[in-house]
C-alpha cells in the first residue's frame, strides 16, 4: 500500500499469516522533519461480525519505529460496510521522545452502483480527520476505485493537500 498526505509519504508491505492478524513494514518519509525511517506494524482483528449483507470489523493497530527517538504508536480501527454503504473510524496515539500526539478520523461513503465481481467498483466518500497538533478537523471528499487486485483512494483536503492510498493485493 502506498499512502501520501501533507505529513508523510509511506509505502507499507504486510503479510497476513491468518485473517486474525498481519505483520508489516512501513517505509516512511516524514515531510516536515525531512527524514526517512521504517515502522514495524502489527494489526490484530479484535472482532468481526459477518452477516449476509454486511461485515463489521474492529482492529487493534500498533507500530514501532526503527528510526530512533523511541517512536511507537497504538490505536484502533473500525468499519462497517455493506455493498452500498461504508462507515469507518480510527484513533491512534503516537509517542516519541520528540512529541506525543493523537490522530483520529471518521469516514462515510456509498457506492453509486453495485458492480459485479471483477468490475470497476467506485465509492464516493467523506473523510474527516483530526490531529492534536493542530487541534482542527479537516473534512473533505474522497473517491475510491477498485478493480481486481488494485485499489486507489484519492482526495484533496481543506489545505489542498492530496490524500492518496494505493493498494495491490498479491
Amino acid at each position: 500500500m502506498v499512502f501520501s498526505d501533507k505529513m508523510r509519504d509511506a509505502a507499507y508491505y504486510h503479510y497476513s499469516p491468518s485473517y486474525k492478524y498481519s505483520l508489516g513494514i512501513e517505509l516512511v518519509e516524514e515531510k516536515q522533519a525531512m527524514k526517512n525511517h521504517a515502522n514495524f506494524r502489527y494489526t490484530y482483528l479484535l472482532n468481526r461480525k459477518n452477516t449476509q449483507n454486511s461485515q463489521r470489523n474492529l482492529y487493534f493497530q500498533s507500530s514501532l519505529s526503527a528510526g530512533g527517538n523511541d517512536e511507537y504508536s497504538y490505536g484502533f480501527l473500525g468499519d462497517w460496510e455493506t455493498r452500498r454503504y461504508f462507515i469507518g473510524f480510527g484513533a491512534q496515539e503516537l509517542k516519541s521522545n520528540l512529541r506525543d500526539y493523537e490522530k483520529q478520523f471518521v469516514q462515510i461513503g456509498f457506492a453509486p452502483y453495485l458492480g459485479d465481481y471483477g468490475d470497476l467498483h467506485s465509492w464516493l466518500m467523506i473523510k474527516s480527520k483530526h490531529d492534536s497538533l493542530t487541534d482542527k478537523w479537516n473534512t473533505y471528499p474522497t473517491i475510491k476505485f477498485f478493480k481486481g487486485d488494485y485499489l486507489l483512494e484519492f482526495g484533496v483536503d481543506e489545505n489542498d493537500e492530496p490524500d492518496i492510498h494505493f493498494m495491490i493485493r498479491f
Partner: protein, 141 residues
C-alpha cells in the same frame, strides 16, 4: 481545488452507475429468456437463492465435474473477496471459480475425481475473513 478534482473524478463513477443500471435491465431480460433447467434440477429448493442463468453459464463447460455451491456471509466487497479466488486456485482438481457478490454465493468447479472436504472449504473461506453458512456439492450434467 479539491471540489474541482472531486467533480472531475465523480463523472466516470456516475457514468458507470448509469451503465450499470442499463446493464441490470439487460440481465433482467436475459433471465426472462432463460429456462435455467440445469440449475433448478441441481439445487432443488435452494434455487431461488442462486442466480440461475449465472449458474447455468458457469456449469456449461463443466460436464461431469463437481460443483461446490458455497453460501458465504460477509462477502460484501470485491477487493476483499479476491483472496477467495486466489486460495481455491491452488487446490488439486480445481477447474474454475465464480464469486457472486449479489447472492453471496461462491461456485467452485472441481474435477470429478477430486475428494471435496467441506471443512477444508470452510477453513479457506474463513482464512479470507468470511463465514460459510452452507455448502452443497453437485455434479454438472
Amino acid at each position: 481545488m479539491r471540489y474541482l478534482l472531486f467533480s472531475i473524478l465523480i463523472f466516470p463513477s456516475l457514468a458507470l452507475a448509469e451503465k450499470n443500471i442499463h446493464g441490470d435491465h439487460a440481465d433482467h431480460n436475459a433471465q426472462h429468456g432463460h429456462e435455467g433447467h440445469v440449475a433448478m434440477d441441481y439445487v432443488g429448493g435452494t434455487s431461488s437463492e442462486l442466480d440461475v442463468p449465472r449458474f447455468d453459464e458457469f456449469v456449461s463447460d463443466q460436464k461431469g465435474n463437481q460443483i461446490a455451491v458455497v453460501s458465504v456471509s460477509g462477502m460484501v466487497c470485491d477487493f476483499c473477496a479476491r483472496g477467495i479466488e486466489k486460495t481455491f486456485q491452488k487446490d488439486a482438481g480445481f477447474k474454475k471459480i465464480d464469486v457472486d457478490l449479489d447472492t453471496g454465493k461462491v461456485l467452485i468447479a472441481y474435477a470429478s475425481s477430486t475428494e471435496i472436504i467441506n471443512e477444508e472449504i470452510e477453513k479457506k473461506i474463513l482464512s479470507n475473513g468470511q463465514t460459510v453458512t452452507d455448502i452443497q456439492i453437485l455434479t454438472a450434467q
